[in-house]
Each structure stands twice: as C-alpha cells, then as structure tokens.
C-alpha cells in the first residue's frame, strides 16, 4: 500500500514498481545516512523456478535534493546484469548455494553503482554481487550469511546492498481496500446498509512476503550542504522509451533514452492522495513539478471520506472538510517540510517549493531503540517519520491520524481533533512482521524462504 501497485500503469510492471523508501540516520553509524528503495512488491517467496530479480532493463535511482528545489543534486544509480551459467537447465540452482560464488547457483545478478551530480557521473562500484532469493533449507541453507556477503563496502565510507529482503512495511491491505475498513474500528463503519461488522485485530497482508531492496549508506557530509541539514530523498525507476519484442530471438529489444516510470518519496502520496486519472502522470514527473498536485494534498479525498465511512465519529474533521480550508499541515508534512517554530526544537523545512520528498533533518540524532515511537513525530520522536522514515515506523497510522486532523492544530490551535483521530490504526505494529529488522545495514530483515512460506 505504501506504493505497491499504486498506479494503473506501474501495477503492470512490478520490476520497476517502487514500493517503499526509507531514509534515516544510521543508528549504528550516526555519521552516515541510510537510503533504501524497495521494488517488486508482494513477492510470494515460493515464486520459482524463475525467482524474482531486478530488471536488467531498468535504471534504478535514489535521489537526494539538498537545496530544496525538488530536483536531484545527487543521484545514486543502479544497473543490474543477469548471468546464466548453464542455459540448458531449468534450474535456478543445481545444489546448495552456500556462498555468492557457488558453482551451484545458475542464475545470478550483479550490479554497477554510479553517483551522478550536476553533469558529472562517477562509477563507484562494478560487478557487485546480489544474493540469491531465499529458496529453502536445501538451496539456501544459511541465508543470513549469504545476505551478509552481499553487503559491499565501496570506499569513501559508502556501503551498498541490493537483493531480496523481507517486506518491512506492515499494512492491512485486505481491510483498507475494502471501502476504507479498519478492522479495529469496523464496528463503527457505515457498511453501506450491509450487515454490521465486529471490531477485530488487524491482519498484516504483507507478512511473509518479500521485496527487492536497494540500500546505500553514505556519509552525511557527502549529501548535505553546509548550513542545510535537511535532505529530500526519493527513488525513481526508468525505462528506455522503446521496447520491441524480437520474436526471432525470443527477447525484448530496448532502445532510446531512459524515461521515468515510477517515483516514490513519502509513503502513500501517490497511492492515497493522487486521483486515479493522474497517478501515471505523477509517476513520470520530478518532485519539482508537484505544485500541480498540491491541491490533492491540501484537500485530500480520504479526509472527506472518513466522516462518511465512520458516521458520527469525526464531527470536527467533517466540519473542517466542509469549511474548505486547505490542509496546510499536510502540505508542510508532505510537500515543504515542517518550518521552525511549529514543533519545539524541530524543523525539516526545505523551502517554499512544493515537492513530495522524504525529508530528513540529518542533524537529529537517531533515537535509541528503547525510546523510539513507531508514531515518529506524532509520538514525540523526532528520529522518525515524517523526519525521514525508519524501517519500523507505522506510516499507515501516522498518515491516517494526520489526515483525520491530528496535525491540523499545528497551524490552527483552535481546532480540536476528534478523539478517534488520535487512535486511528489498522491494528498493526512492527511485531506484525515475522522477520524482524536487522540491527545493522541493510537493516531490513532476512527474506522469507519459499519452503517455509509456500502460500
């Protein structure tokens, strides 16, 4: 849901479909930031014999804006190459894969990394090995070790990883997309005249599913400008303009310049705020063009729906929606960053340019594990979303509560949020994710194996 299958066109192209972006000061190395972009949503771990892999024909990028114009000042570029050792077998592997150079591993990927800035482009890594997918105890008997081998130091304090990981984003997709139902509150749902529902615990639809992650950890000093501690982060995937199916050779032929087909900064923006008819266009544009979509943030449809779906639960929100006042709180959170003076001791404002970027004030130190709130800033924890985004942040609850009006008093202290607004949740927590995050880079958990998660 964060951005899984969020737009009509990209939902047909999962290899290029970005699902989540994370950006945080690395907890175990606080002079660095970790940037993660996930792709290929909702992977069933047993999806063989052709297990999931990055697209050789896709240009993956993680961008950093450090001057607030919504354009990339630094772009980390990733290109993948698939290698097949023996094309005369259908097998992904012919025996246990116990290391990244195992001769038993028949189909593998490597990648190159480059840093583009201005008109310069510098290759900083070539032929870097991805780990295999997690197949099962016979094929990948020690997957954690394989994953660790795929962490590459590139010099200059840069570390990268690209490969399969456990989905860390938790969300009750099955309920939410059933007409905005939140299981813990479904007894209050309007139900459209259908039989009433009883409140129930949330169900994590993404549990036991995998994604493909691109993670890079870089020195903070290399991405931020002097005196401007806040960076804007987003990911894009691009394809060449032309694709032709070469029937004689049974392969696609790509040609032409790369054009953006997928974009993701803040979670849920394109998914929930941008109307269906504009989602594909949104995916093709840079954040600097987001002013044209700002009205959908200032007057979000979901905020208007909540009082309808839950009659009598959100009277103050209903009045706010009816007033037609623009949601300057949401515009700040999602499009400009939060200016100084709104939240004591905190700001991640990048300037007046409205651009959907994950804004991270890199001068805020990581919150110790025991003191973190999964509700981030809403929970009084400036180390979490919307100051960047950590792997465990409950972005669904945070954004639901913000949409419901919890953050509106930031710009209008006379507004009193409805009691229910501060309680909204789909009923999930990081404990709803069976494969826990790692304590070290790349931080996302070990992917689920096909053997252990066959359905």
């Amino acid at each position: 849901m964060s951005s899984h299958r969020e737009a009509p066109e990209i939902s047909k192209d999962p290899v290029a479909d970005s699902t989540d972006v994370y950006a945080f000061v690395s907890p175990d190395k606080p002079d660095t930031v970790t940037l993660i972009a996930n792709y290929i949503p909702l992977q069933g771990p047993a999806g063989g014999p052709n297990f999931y892999e990055f697209g050789d024909d896709v240009l993956y990028e993680i961008h950093v804006d450090n001057n607030g114009d919504g354009r990339a000042d630094i772009s980390y570029q990733f290109r993948f190459t698939t290698h097949v050792a023996n094309p005369d077998t259908f097998l992904y592997n012919t025996g246990p894969i116990e290391s990244l150079n195992s001769p038993n591993w028949n189909r593998r990927q490597s990648y190159d990394v480059a840093v583009a800035s201005g008109f310069s482009r510098r290759v900083i890594g070539t032929g870097l090995a991805c780990p295999p997918c997690n197949i099962g105890p016979l094929s990948t008997p020690d997957y954690a070790a394989l994953g660790a081998q795929a962490v590459h130091g590139l010099g200059g304090g840069i570390t990268v990883f690209a490969g399969q990981r456990a989905e860390a984003f938790y969300v009750d997709l099955g309920s939410i997309f059933d007409l905005g139902d939140l299981r813990p509150f479904e007894n209050l749902h309007a139900t459209f005249g259908l039989p009433g529902l009883k409140a129930a615990p949330g169900v994590n639809a993404t549990n036991h599913l995998n994604v493909h992650s691109i993670a890079i950890r870089v020195p903070i000093s290399s991405v931020r400008r002097s005196g401007h501690p806040t960076i804007g982060v987003w990911t894009t995937a691009s394809r060449q303009r032309v694709r032709v199916w070469d029937a004689d050779n049974g392969e696609n032929v790509d040609s032409g310049p790369f054009r953006q087909v997928s974009r993701l900064g803040n979670p849920l923006v394109n998914e929930v705020l941008i109307p269906l008819g504009h989602k594909d266009q949104w995916n093709s544009l840079p954040p600097s063009d987001d002013k044209r979509f700002a009205a959908y943030v200032a007057n979000p449809g979901l905020a208007a729906l909540l009082p309808v779906l839950y009659p009598g639960v959100f009277p103050n929100l209903a009045a706010l929606v009816k007033s037609g006042k623009p949601r300057a709180d949401l515009e700040a959170i999602l499009l400009t960053g939060i200016p100084a003076g709104i939240i004591p001791g905190f700001q991640n404002f990048t300037g007046p340019v409205q651009a959907d970027m994950l804004r991270l004030n890199t001068s805020v130190p990581p919150t110790p594990a025991g003191k973190q709130s999964i509700f981030g800033l809403l929970g009084g924890d400036a180390g979490g979303f919307p100051n960047g985004r950590r792997v465990t942040d409950d972005v669904v609850a945070i954004e639901l509560r913000a949409l419901a009006g919890v953050t509106y008093p930031l710009i209008d202290k006379t507004f009193k949020p409805d009691a229910a607004a501060g309680l909204l949740t789909d009923g999930l927590t990081p404990a709803s994710v069976s494969s826990p995050p790692l304590g070290q880079f790349p931080y996302l958990g070990v992917p689920y194996s096909g053997y252990d998660n066959p359905s």
Partner: protein, 115 residues
C-alpha cells in the same frame, strides 16, 4: 537533423541481413503501430542521431548508458517511430539516444511498406 540520405531506406531488393537497412529489415521484429503512428526497427543501420535529446526528467545527469551512447549507438537496433505519417514527424531511437526529424517522404515510404 539526420541527413535524409542517412535516413533513407534502400530499395526492396536489399536483404534483411543485419548489415543492411532494407524495408524488410526496417520492419523486422518491430511493427508496433500506435494510434498516432507507426514504428519500425532496423538492425545495424546507419542513421545519425544528431539531435539526441536530453532527458527532461528528474535527473539532469545523463542516464548511465547515455555516457556511452554516442560511441555505441549504432551497435544495436535502430527503431523508427512514425508519429504522424501525414506531417512526416518521425522519431529515431538507437542505444540510449533519440532523434526527431520531419521527413514527409520517408514517412510516406515507410507507410507504404506496411501497406
């Protein structure tokens, strides 16, 4: 703009081999016709992408392969997209480059090839 000679397809007698541009090879493997145009590919042809466009998207820096585009642009297929046969609006793709020309004559001849 690419020279007209460079863009001109040889006569129908040419073979469809990878080394030459013929009407048959121009169409081989790629007859993608959109609502507003025609598309065709040719293998190993000789068009000159003189008007390669820079991406207008988020990354002002060139895409990775574009750094090498001019050196290897003609090693792979060339794809011709006739956006509008009537006005002769044609796009030519090769490697990671793209050119756009207006050539009514060429567009008309390509259109005739596919009937």
């Amino acid at each position: 703009m690419p020279s007209q000679d460079a863009m001109r397809a040889p006569g129908p007698e040419a073979s469809g081999s990878a080394g030459g541009l013929s009407r048959r090879s121009l169409l081989q493997g790629a007859a993608t016709a959109g609502a507003a145009g025609l598309a065709a590919t040719a293998l190993g042809a000789v068009a000159s992408p003189a008007l390669a466009l820079s991406p207008p998207g988020i990354s002002r820096p060139p895409a990775p392969d574009q750094a090498h585009a001019r050196g290897k642009a003609h090693a792979g297929p060339i794809v011709v997209h006739v956006r509008d046969a009537r006005s002769g609006d044609i796009e030519v793709f090769s490697g990671t480059s793209q050119s756009r020309v207006r050539d009514k004559d060429l567009a008309a001849r390509i259109a005739r090839v596919i009937g």
